[in-house]
Amino acid sequence: MAAFAFEQSLNAIQLGLTLFLLTAGLTLTFGFMGVINLAHGSVYMIGAYVLAAVSLRTGSFLIGIAAALLTTGIIGLLLELSLVRRLYRRGHLDQVLATFAVILIANGLTTWLFGRQPIQLDIPSYLSGPLRLTADLSYPKYRAFLIALGVAIAVLLHIVMGRTRVGMRVRAGSTHRELVRALGVDVRGLFALVFGLGSMLAGFAGALIAPLQAVEAGMGDQIVILAFVVIVIGGVGSVRGAFFASLMVGIVDTLGRVVLPFLLKSFTAPAVSTALSIGVSSTAVYLLMAAVLIVRPAGLFAGRA
């Protein structure tokens, strides 16, 4: 049972960290530029497809990852220059409509290029299989790899945001945009940079999750909703908020799927407990969001907007 609890804790952390990769970029574009970008999920999907296609052809997972980072970074830049740039001064409804159109186009093009069946992708042999920790304790190597990478990216972002000039400008821009502009910072260029980097992070998340999931058109449409929940909990624009909120969502979601059915089974009739636990566990994350918003309406780590 101890091994089981440990394993589920790792599951919760891994889910949270993977979610963080996706939300870190989204919270920056949302907080810094005020743009609701639904197409973030499409970039996540593109990252997965590029990894799958390139690593299948070259036989190298690492080349696949590099190609996914490069492609999604460039796509992010192009998206900012061609479309998102025109949306800054418009309302949220226009932003939702325009970026939703990007989702439809991306899904259509993906189906056209790769077909409707999910595509083939294997975990590289050195990351495949279980990592044996003790006699009765093991964890999938690939998930351990995801945890390590998630921590590394979180540390890297912490340093970039807290210790570098660019990070300082981005942080300042998300709370005091006009002041930053008045100081002579090229805000346009900074926007494009942040959007490109944010897209690259989304592509990275998609590429990393690809070997564990079905790589298919529309795979990013669902998870982007969860990413917005994380951002709202963490406080719009805060990378630190996104980090802790991602972990919270990972923990609450895993608890809701494991502990809740178990507890309810021991207290209520089977039919009742099944209906109740599936109801509560599928809404657990949203209940968390509601609870956080009651206590802190602007999210956990909200800056002064």
């Binding site: 589920q8 891994q14 259509g108 083939q120 079905a214 058109a217």
Partner: protein, 391 residues
């Protein structure tokens, strides 16, 4: 999304029209409405079914049973409202009275009652819903694939055949998932250790797999169609859990095992037809399908092909006159065609009475993982609700 779906559709229509035109002096073609799902993530099944149906018509140069047919293909986008609009247009504007092609139960339930009320004949070429079986059967509704609970029942038969003492189930929390699980549990003779319910379209199964690891079941009954099953198999393969058979009925196709590779090696499927089934009609179908589409047909393709042949047999018997519904019904019920399943017969509620086979997955010569027929698990199996059907 619709781009690739529309192209072959138009191409075929123009081909069908051209063929139709050359024989128009002999007989005006019988219109067949093929309402199916070609787009969205669920589009692969409809595509297979349509391709096989068109193959059957192409064999005869645009005819079925010697009668020229005008096949009108429409994509419902897995949306019941879209399907309703298409059905209305085909009934009123095109005057179609013969329908098939529907893949998903929510579409079936949305439009089939309307079609039947309008006096049309409907051949359901995928899972026939329980809601239109038994007491709610209809003389003009036929199922050419299997009755509603057959997939779950056949998975149970496969688990029983392999002497499984205990197992766990995993299904998404929606109607079909719960129905199939119910059918499985009624048929399974061993003990159910635990039932896991997941969200529809869930992508991460880490928490569930840890539970499975803890309970150490001898097998898993899974009803996780499409991408859900792929994600689950890939993730289970990474866990320290050994070889656990996954009883998946018809949800894991040849394409899926090829995509998933080694992680699909423990899948035990079940179906009334497999590509390696040894009979002349099946051999011919598999060879022609591979030749035409460069892929191995799935059981959904086989259902489409059999449906076309079934319609062909009825058109031959009625000489293409489908205005006399009683004669059409009689001809369909007789089912005089060479089924790829070897034999074909209807039960009292007009769903097939058929044999089911178990499949296991292994590597073929080219290194691709492919399901193989591993023997019969159900003989002459029909709907459990057939005797409640009274016309």
């Amino acid at each position: 999304m619709g781009i690739s779906a529309v192209k072959p559709h138009l191409a075929f229509l123009s081909a069908a029209l051209a063929i139709g035109a050359s024989v128009a002096h002999a007989q005006s073609p019988v219109k067949i409405g093929l309402i199916t799902t070609l787009s969205t993530a669920g589009g692969a099944l409809g595509q297979d079914m349509r391709d096989a149906f068109q193959l059957a018509a192409k064999e005869e140069g645009g005819k079925l049973g010697g009668v020229p047919v005008d096949l009108m293909v429409a994509d419902d986008g897995l949306n019941p409202n879209t399907a309703k609009d298409i059905a209305e247009r085909m009934l009123q504007h095109d005057g179609i009275r013969l329908f098939t092609g529907i893949i998903y139960t929510n579409v079936t339930l949305a439009i089939v009652p309307d079609l039947l009320r309008a006096g049309a004949v409907v051949i359901q070429n995928n899972t026939g819903p329980v809601e239109l079986d038994g007491k709610n059967c209809n003389p003009n509704l036929f199922g050419s694939a299997w009755h509603g609970e057959a997939p779950g029942e056949s998975a149970a038969a496969a688990a029983n055949a392999r002497n499984t003492k205990q197992l766990m189930t995993i299904v998404p929390n929606y109607t079909s998932g719960l129905e199939q699980r119910g059918a499985f549990k009624r048929g399974f003779k061993g003990q159910i250790l635990d039932d896991i319910l997941v969200k529809l379209n869930q992508t991460d199964y880490a928490a569930e797999i840890s539970q499975i690891k803890l309970r150490r079941p001898e097998g898993i009954y899974m009803f996780l169609p499409g991408g859900m099953g792929i994600s689950f198999m890939r993730q289970l393969h990474q866990a320290d859990i050994g070889d656990i058979p996954m009883y998946a009925a018809t949800t894991v196709s040849e394409q899926v095992t090829a995509t998933v590779g080694e992680a699909a090696r423990n899948v035990v499927g079940s179906a009334p037809w497999t590509p390696d089934l040894d009979n002349p009609a099946s051999r011919k179908f598999v060879a022609e399908f591979r030749e035409a589409y460069k892929r191995t047909p799935t059981v959904y393709a086989a259902n489409g092909y059999d449906t076309a042949k079934l319609i062909g047999s009825a058109l031959a018997a009625t000489r293409g006159d489908i205005s006399n519904i009683a004669a059409v019904r009689k001809a369909i019920l007789a089912a005089k065609f060479d089924s790829v399943r070897g034999k074909f017969a209807f039960g009292a509620s007009q769903y097939p009475v058929e044999d089911w086979y178990m499949t296991t997955v292994s590597k073929d010569a080219s290194g691709t993982y492919v399901p193989h027929n591993a023997g019969k698990v159900l003989t002459a199996h029909g709907s459990p609700y057939a005797d409640q059907c009274k016309f």
